[in-house]
């Protein structure tokens, strides 16, 4: 199979922002993700005006926190999703959401390119697997991520094929721990 062109391009653009404060790369990421963030936030209960403002705010955070993007552990879409999720919680005044402590990381070598590529491929496969789910199950998963399901309802939205991507990230974490001990 071929690597998802979008995913690989977004990854390169994200690293250009992180390393060179590349505004053209940022503009390209904005063109792809801002309208999708707006759609996502509106489906999560935000008004169009709130979603517009929040999407801009998320993209500004993407710029500021670019150095924390690790292509061996997340696709660009996944990383931006986590920022948007946290902003949505603030926006809709949901309960506070404590975060796990960071991995003990510091100045470290560049992430391994092969690891990053493999993770981007796994992310693409996950997207394809989602697209192929029966409509009913996919709708349930979407509702869970739009904040539209109670906890007991969420149990029915689990059981996705996440083993491959989980194992990939697990290995990346092990490598990171080894480097730091």
């Amino acid at each position: 199979m071929t690597i998802d062109d979008d995913g690989a391009r977004h990854c390169a653009q994200m690293l250009a922002v992180a390393r060179h404060a590349d505004q053209a790369a940022f503009a390209a990421l904005f063109a792809h993700f801002a309208p999708r963030l707006k759609a996502f936030l509106m489906k999560s209960g935000a008004t169009a005006a709130q979603a517009e403002d929040c999407a801009q705010d998320v993209m500004a955070t993407v710029w500021r926190k670019a150095g924390q993007f690790d292509p061996a552990r997340a696709s660009v879409a996944t990383w931006i999703f986590t920022i948007a999720r946290n902003r949505r919680i603030d926006l809709l005044r949901r309960d506070r959401r404590p975060e796990p402590e960071d991995l003990p990381w510091g100045p470290e070598p560049e992430p391994d390119q092969a690891d990053a590529l493999a993770l981007q491929q796994d992310s693409q496969r996950l997207g394809e697997a989602l697209a192929q789910l029966p409509e009913e199950q996919r709708a349930l998963i979407e509702r869970a991520y739009f904040g539209d399901l109670s906890h007991s309802e969420i149990a029915a939205a689990t059981g996705l094929p996440l083993g491959t991507i989980k194992s990939r990230i697990r290995l990346a974490l092990e490598k990171l721990r080894q480097k730091l001990t």
Binding site: P35, A39, D95, P98, R170
Partner: protein
């Protein structure tokens, strides 16, 4: 070696950002100790990323990019922070609620040598730390809702298994159990529930109003 992990449903809820605060605290604390669940959580986040990527675009307002660039004008992306979690018993997310590590907990006795400290979280679920002296039993109790118990120090056993540092026991209405702290160090746990505890003995039932959960 952690043997008892978080359920998929909890990780999905945490990834989606919809858990009550007390449950989020327990998930964040466990994930801080458990790379297996950190990876499972990252996989759940990848589902959120795939959904975001597949949204039908809703056009941004005219000038949105310019407005966003104005928000970041003159700022370069920040360098990756160097992070070294402080060594200690409690991971960072829990420390933020306690105001420090284990020695900062303001324990209150609840009888039989057992102590607890209720942590401030939003309504809908409650969180507390439990201190159970080695060899002591927590009064026989059942559960109205879901109760999760994360061990931070020592270990306990009940009718189902043994639970040590990092392990999470998930109890629901079907489970009536008698957790007993193993001999040795006191067992310190983070317990969260979405319903009041129900004690079966008479004396603990009288004490329940004072336990405040």
């Amino acid at each position: 070696m952690i043997r008892h992990h978080l359920s998929d449903a909890l990780l999905t809820g945490y990834s989606a950002g919809t858990l009550p605060e007390a449950f989020s605290l327990l998930v964040a604390t466990h994930v801080s100790l458990c790379d297996e669940c950190r990876a499972r959580l990252a996989a759940q986040d990848a589902v959120g990323g795939a959904l975001l990527d597949r949204q039908e675009a809703v056009p941004m307002a005219e000038g949105a990019l310019t407005a966003t660039l104005a928000r970041i004008t003159g700022t370069a992306p920040e360098a990756r922070p160097v992070s070294r979690p402080a060594p200690g018993l409690f991971p960072e997310p829990l420390r933020a609620y306690v105001g420090g590590d284990a020695e900062a907990v303001r324990w209150r006795p609840v009888g039989g040598g057992v102590r607890q400290a209720i942590l401030p979280t939003a309504s809908g679920a409650s969180a507390r730390l439990l201190y159970i002296p080695g060899g002591t039993a927590v009064p026989d109790h059942g559960h109205r809702g879901t109760e999760l118990t994360l061990v931070l120090q020592g270990a306990f056993r009940d009718e189902t298994d043994r639970f040590a540092r990092g392990d999470v026991e998930t109890a629901d209405e079907a489970l009536e159990h008698t957790p007993i702290a193993e001999a040795g160090d006191p067992c310190i746990c983070l317990a969260v529930t979405d319903a009041p505890l129900r004690f079966n003995g008479l004396i603990p039932r009288l004490l329940q109003p004072f336990l405040k959960i």
